[in-house]
Amino acid sequence: MNFKGTILLADDEPHIRKFVGLILKGLGAAAILEAGDGEEAVAVFLREKPGLVLLDVNMPVVDGLGALKKIKEIDPDCVVVMLTSLANRETVESALALGASNYIRKDTPKEEIAKALTETIDACFEA
């Protein structure tokens, strides 16, 4: 994985944060920040300015699309990747239209998630 900076991982399910966090560490992630809802994600983003954000679509308080919109307003160049389970086509399309780089199915085997993350991230960051 070409990205070496701080990553923000936002998902309301702690086990998903743990699972995806382990995958990111396996890919060589240096620092991972966590948030449990969209509002917290935006707050952490403002404070820590991570270069890469992974956003769950279905989150309480502010959902993934809401957080994506805010983050893109604050920093249009920030790379945001959406996390979904059963991908709802409309949601995915709105996320891409709002500037998300890609979406990743978090309910697939860890090798598939790792591969999709690496491909998406390496497409956004040069080696």
């Binding site: 699972f19 382990l22 860890k110």
Partner: protein
């Protein structure tokens, strides 16, 4: 001890207002519209019917009958054939048209037992006829039986509606429950794989065994939940296909490669026999892939270790069909169980040969996906043993 009186199991008694008796124990008060231009006939029928406690309305012409029907909402109509203005047959046709699906049964009143009249009347939508002069007992018996039919069919309609509402609610519940179970199960599977693979330090053999058990159990639960979700989606009518032209051989090659990884554990091999045919046709790639994956994994599951599974691609340009078959070396499908095979939870007596799990939903889902593609799925036992599952899809070269 007083408390025992208060807590007597009142709730175990059927409520008093429950309709425990037959739904037509009493036909009292049922509404009958009598239509005849002859006042005397109206009077005779009126006295026969009122004696039974029916509620009556009268009309002396077809036009008046149509008006009265809309206000009175009868359960049954007695309709004279010969009347000035529109005749009984035409009146009946208009009533049937205006109240399609809900129109009360119409019994014609005929002057003579003329078979032409009877035939035309039944053709116009009548259910029966009463010949004049009236025989009171016959009139009442015929009316009673048609009212009972009417009540039964209303009851049936209500029950069907209740059941389909309950089924839709069940599917919504199933969908929600399955949806919320998927993420935690995927995490349990993934996290146990991290443990197994030594991501947080080495495990001894006994620990690996436990972790593998957790991993395999979460995997089969995930499969079950996915299949339940598929069934709920399909039953809710939300199976939407995204058709795009795709070479069938490519889809099968990918699925065979994946299946072979699992099959290797049983020393089972999957081979492709394409016989040169490589049709490209509009399919929903992900859903058709699911069908192929399912048929191949079933073939591995039910064939003995070391078996060879064959995936065959076929093309019949003359008939405008193409598709694929999966030939296994399993026990074959018992004749009596063939009907069950493609139904929900239609598990058969055959068991997987290496302790694999089966939900009994896979083939039902396959059938629904194939049928949504306007295709068909069938199974034959092979003379050489084993069975062949065949998917046939429409193909326009």
């Amino acid at each position: 001890m007083i408390s025992t009186v208060e807590s007597s199991p009142e709730s175990f008694r059927p409520p008093m207002d429950q309709p425990t008796a037959s739904p037509f124990a009493s036909l009292m008060g049922r509404r009958i519209l009598v239509v005849d231009d002859d006042r005397l006939n109206l009077r005779i029928l009126g006295s026969i019917l009122k004696g039974e406690g029916y509620t009556l309305a009268e009309a002396s012409s077809g036009e008046e009958a149509i008006d009265t029907y809309a206000r009175f909402h009868p359960d049954l109509v007695l309709l004279d054939v010969m009347m000035p203005g529109i005749d009984g047959f035409e009146t009946c046709r208009r009533l049937k048209k205006a109240h399609a699906g809900t129109c009360a049964p119409v019994i014609f009143i005929t002057a003579k037992n003329e078979s032409d009249d009877v035939v035309e009347g039944l053709g116009a939508g009548g259910v029966d006829y009463l010949p004049k002069p009236f025989n009171g007992k016959e009139v009442l018996a015929r009316i009673r039986s048609h009212l009972q039919n009417r009540i039964l069919s209303e009851e049936l309609k209500r029950l069907v509606e209740q059941l389909s509402n309950a089924n839709a609610a069940k599917n919504r519940f199933l969908g929600m429950a399955a949806h919320d179970l998927r993420n935690p199960l995927a995490s349990i599977r993934g996290l146990s794989e991290f443990l197994r693979d030594g991501a947080v330090g080495p495990l001894d053999a006994a620990q690996v065994d436990i972790v593998n058990t957790i991993r395999d159990a979460s995997q089969s639960m995930l499969d079950l939940v996915n299949e339940l979700l598929d069934v709920a989606t399909i039953e809710a009518g939300e199976l939407k296909l995204r058709l795009e032209p795709h070479p069938l051989a490519d889809l099968i090659a990918k699925s065979v490669a994946l299946t072979n990884m699992d099959a290797a554990r049983k020393k089972t091999r999957v081979i492709i026999d394409s016989s040169g045919a490589s049709p490209t046709l509009p399919i929903d790639v992900a859903k058709m892939r699911q069908v192929i994956d399912n048929l191949l994994s079933n073939a591995v599951k039910y064939s003995p270790p070391g078996a060879t599974i064959t995936a065959v691609i076929h093309l019949d340009a003359a008939r405008g069909t193409c598709g694929f078959s999966v030939r296994d070396q399993g026990p074959g499908i018992p004749e009596g169980e063939r009907d069950k095979l493609f139904k929900d939870f239609g598990r058969l007596s055959a068991r997987p040969t290496a302790g694999e799990e089966s939900t009994g939903l896979g083939l039902a889902i396959c059938r629904k996906i194939v049928e949504a593609h306007n295709g068909s799925i069938s199974v034959e036992n092979l003379p050489s043993g084993g069975s062949e599952f065949r998917v046939t899809l429409p193909f326009n070269a």
